[in-house]
């Protein structure tokens, strides 16, 4: 029971966070002026200082917050600010002129929105990948074994709505596997699908490996080969208008380093295959 209450609270917290997403752009704007001063300091060979503003996909929240803390620990004069939101929202904010140093997208389509606008300082590189996984309640009460179980009308199944990225990926894998999926609900985002598994209200849901990892106490993950048909590649780049380019590069370097890659792997991401 108490676990469920905590779950309800965490749902509320997630909502509060999404509601706050819009304000970060304003924070970023106010930090831009202070960052401008710092880039002058760092170019003269001093340690990284000022503010670093990173726009990153919401799925990177935990890993990047952790990496940001590490960077701040290494450079006491540096303040790392994040704007976590859906990649499409971030891309829109950037093309509308939001000042940022780094952009990390959850898919290449939204990175293209930014590069098409010529906002990148260097070509984006893929730094990690995320694949779909089947999430089932602890103990797998319905004995789900693979993607084919999603065609079973007797099971209660959740997928993401086709309008959101995880739903589009789900459609791709179903199509590739030739499976006529029989979901009972098309959830508005991947966390909502995961919540239904955590509550034990669905027998299985199609979510990302990182979501299974984040909820590893409550759910079990089942990998399936068809997931390779819809791999989400995460590109990152520094931005042309970066108020703090040296810190931006330092952050991208940290993400690409063994330390950064390990943190990503611990969160359920995997190293890029290409």
């Amino acid at each position: 029971m108490s676990r469920r209450v905590r779950l309800a609270l965490s749902v509320a917290a997630v909502l509060a966070l999404t509601a706050c997403g819009g304000t970060s752009a304003g924070d970023a704007a106010s930090s831009a002026s202070s960052a401008a001063a710092s880039s002058a300091a760092s170019s003269s060979g001093e340690d990284l200082t000022g503010t670093l503003t990173v726009f990153a996909a919401a799925s990177l929240t935990d890993v990047f917050t952790d990496l940001g803390d590490r960077l701040e620990a290494d450079h006491p004069g540096l303040d790392v600010q994040f704007n976590f939101a859906g990649s499409s929202q971030l891309a829109t904010q950037l093309t509308q002129g939001a000042p940022a140093d780094v952009f990390a997208s959850a898919n290449e389509a939204q990175m293209e929105v930014v590069t098409d606008a010529g906002l990148q300082a260097a070509d984006p590189t893929v730094f990690t990948e995320n694949v779909l996984e089947i999430a089932v309640p602890k103990g797998n009460p319905a004995h789900v074994t693979g993607l084919a179980d999603f065609a079973d009308p007797d099971l209660t199944l959740a997928v993401c709505a086709p309008d959101v990225p995880c739903g589009a990926a789900a459609q791709e894998v179903f199509q590739a596997a030739g499976i006529d999926a029989q979901p009972d609900t098309q959830e508005e985002d991947v966390k909502a699908a995961l919540t239904k598994v955590q509550l034990g209200e669905v027998d299985a849901a199609l979510v990302y490996a990182t979501d299974v990892q984040a909820a590893s106490g409550d759910v079990e993950g089942i990998e399936f080969p068809e997931a390779e048909q819809a791999v989400n590649q995460y590109p990152i780049c520094t931005l042309e208008a970066a108020p703090n380019p040296d810190a931006a590069q330092a952050f991208v370097d940290l993400v690409d380093s063994d330390e950064g890659q390990q943190a990503l792997e611990d969160a359920g991401f995997r190293a890029p295959t290409s």
């Binding site: 509320a12 209660t156 709505a161 309008d163 609900t185 098309q186 508005e188 909502a192 509550l199 209200e201």
Partner: protein, 268 residues
């Protein structure tokens, strides 16, 4: 001789009323301005639109009916009895007003879900599960919307002249007869107003519905859910759907209002 009040609206009331009206209406105008008028017809003809609209109207109406059946008696208990727990009851009944609807949806899971306190028993004895069905939509909407009805009706009951009920009682009517023959007709306009509020809230319900009932076209995808999901991929479609919902709800409310106004006018 000038009457003290005059017939015009005093400036200290007129100005905030005008600002308030603009505040409420401008976002609506924004939707109208941004709507893709050129291909509106084609977008409205998409099969999903009618389906979601029908489901919305049906579930909001059923939720309002359920709220009337259960909510009017609650309002009567709150307004006409002197039980000690009354203020606690009132606070409890209004909890869904302050609860974020998504949390309300999770709470419904914990009671009526397959693993819920009541839902588990229901599932084990009959094999029936409530979540992800149209019934779940109606339950979620009722949970969120009923407090609006209860509060309006309680207000109407308190404002109604209790002497009519006393007179009925002295003439030998028991409390149930008095309620049916005297109280109900007396507060009918208040109940109607509460039902409208309840219906409107149910029609726009999003959070509890998408959490408890999920989202599936034809079964649980009401208009607000369709709007939200369309917003993720096709903002123009979301605007069209919003306009449809607004037009239908406004038309319904205006029609009903006219009917009551004429009826109460005839009664007076």
């Amino acid at each position: 001789m000038r009457r003290p009040g005059g017939s015009g609206v005093p400036l200290p009331l007129l100005v905030p009323a005008a600002i308030g009206t603009l505040f409420l209406v401008l976002p609506l105008l924004g939707l109208v301005v941004r709507a893709p008028w050129s291909d509106l017809g084609a977008r409205l003809a998409e099969p999903g639109v009618g389906q979601a609209l029908r489901l919305s109207l049906l579930s909001a109406t059923l939720a309002t009916t359920a709220s009337l059946v259960l909510g009017v008696p609650i309002a009567w208990v709150l307004a006409r009895t002197r039980t000690r727990g009354r203020s606690v009851l009132r606070a409890l009944v209004t909890v869904p007003l302050v609860l974020p609807p998504v949390v309300g949806g999770v709470a419904l899971f914990l009671v009526l879900g397959r693993q819920g306190i009541v839902g588990r028993w229901l599932f084990e004895t009959t094999g029936v599960t409530i979540p992800f069905t149209t019934l779940a939509v109606v339950i979620a909407e009722t949970f969120v919307a009923m407090p609006f009805l209860v509060i309006s009706v309680e207000g109407a009951l308190r404002a109604a002249d209790a002497r009519f009920e006393d007179a009925a009682a002295t003439l030998g009517a028991d409390r149930w007869t008095t309620f049916r023959r005297v109280t109900l007709p007396l507060v009918a306009p208040g109940i109607a107003a509460g039902a409208v509020l309840c219906w409107a809230r149910a029609l726009g319900e999003f959070g509890a519905t998408i959490t408890f009932a999920g989202n599936f076209p034809g079964t649980t995808q009401t208009m607000p859910l369709a709007v939200y999901l369309a917003l993720q991929s096709d903002p123009e479609a979301a605007i069209v759907l919003s306009l449809v919902l607004l037009v239908v709800s406004l038309a319904t409310l205006l029609l009903l209002r006219d009917r009551w106004l004429t009826r109460s006018g005839a009664a007076a």
